[in-house]
């Protein structure tokens, strides 16, 4: 029987393409699913909006709904000045959503169950937030770490805590998504293994195989919900952190 963690392995599909700093880069299954996510989401938005009808058809309604959902969320969370950042947050949401959903296909790799992908997205988000904060507020941006109304003598301690509280935000953002996806897929694998074991056992245990199968069906449904929810949480927290940088002062 295959190991439980085999579904998370990254392997090369084909020969190495080029090398960076001594590491040879090949097209991996992770890259394949990322390209699939990007390609399908781009195709969905482009093709669905092609009719550009005033009364939208079903596909156009779907695309407009996705747009409005995130646009409203970003504007209500991060305010008026956040409109230039909407494409970025929409891309984050769509990429994570499609990666999560593609991970639900059998024999596929859930791209977001690798911490590196999530950390990359979170760090690029925070690079943009910090750079924007400095452009907008100059050195005044450091006042982000000074909570209002704090007694002066506690200030050094508070500033240190605030700084680290800000610094760990990308990590908590990425670990949340990573842990949810990893745990969900491991759970699916565990119950599937239980089903197979029970079905391969003696005749008395075979009917019991329906139980982990039923649980697996429920967990699969729950995993679809978690895929949507985690993408939404990622997007809404990105908007909240953006608002903190844009409007803190």
């Amino acid at each position: 029987m295959a190991s439980l963690l085999e579904e998370f392995e990254i392997h090369d599909l084909g020969a190495p393409l080029f090398s960076i700093g001594g590491h040879s880069i090949a097209f991996t299954n992770s890259a394949l699913f990322m390209f699939l996510a990007i390609g399908s989401s781009t195709a969905l938005m482009v093709l669905a909006m092609r009719p550009q009808a005033v009364i939208p058809g079903r596909w156009q309604m779907l695309a407009e709904k996705m747009y409005d959902f995130i646009a409203e969320m970003v504007e209500s969370t991060a305010g008026e000045q956040s409109k230039p950042f909407f494409p970025f947050i929409f891309t984050i949401f769509t990429f994570i959503l499609f990666c999560n959903l593609f991970g639900m296909l059998p024999r596929s790799l859930a791209v977001t169950s690798h911490i590196l992908i999530n950390v990359s997205i979170a760090l690029s988000l925070f690079a943009i937030i910090i750079i924007t904060g400095f452009i907008k507020h100059g050195l005044h941006f450091f006042h982000l770490f000074v909570p209002a109304g704090a007694p002066k003598f506690m200030l050094p301690f508070l500033v240190v805590i605030e700084f680290f509280s800000f610094a760990v935000r990308p990590f908590s953002l990425s670990i949340r998504l990573f842990a949810n996806m990893l745990a969900g897929h491991i759970l699916l694998g565990v119950f599937a293994g239980m089903t197979v074991t029970l079905l391969a056992a003696g005749w008395m245990l075979k009917p019991l195989g329906i139980l982990p199968l039923g649980i697996n069906i429920a967990i699969t449904g729950f995993e679809f919900f978690v895929a949507f929810l985690q993408a939404y949480i990622y997007a809404i927290l990105s908007a909240v952190y953006l608002r903190d940088a844009l409007e803190m002062h």
């Binding site: 409203e72 969320m73 209500s76 909570p147 209002a148 109304g149 704090a150 240190v160 805590i161 680290f164 509280s165 610094a167 760990v168 990308p170 990590f171 908590s172 953002l173 990425s174 670990i175 949340r176 842990a179 949810n180 929810l229 939404y232 949480i233 927290l237 903190d244 803190m248």
Partner: protein, 95 residues
């Protein structure tokens, strides 16, 4: 006179639009608020501890402060995690 039914229809439509727009966008959050809010807070705490530990480990590796870097940063991580949880649960007046 002939325009009145049209006016009524449009007024009714605009009233309905105004009422629909009055509903906040937190409609989704209302249905999923419990798992969403608490899972966020839980992961914030874990993420704070792990993130600070990572920063401490990086400081250890590149600045040779073994073993104090990780030790101090784990404690800082717990403090930061608790403070974030407090803010998220009690509603912060400062941020």
């Amino acid at each position: 006179m002939a325009g009145d039914p049209e006016h009524e229809k449009l007024d009714d439509l605009s009233a309905r639009i105004r009422k629909a727009e009055g509903k906040s966008t937190i409609r989704v959050a209302d249905q999923v608020v419990a798992p969403m809010k608490f899972s966020r807070i839980g992961f914030d705490f874990v993420g704070s501890v792990l993130g600070c530990t990572l920063l401490g480990w990086l400081a250890d590796t590149y600045m040779g402060t073994k073993p104090w870097g990780v030790m101090v940063m784990v404690l800082v991580g717990f403090c930061v995690g608790v403070i974030n949880m407090w803010r998220a649960l009690a509603g912060s007046k400062t941020e």
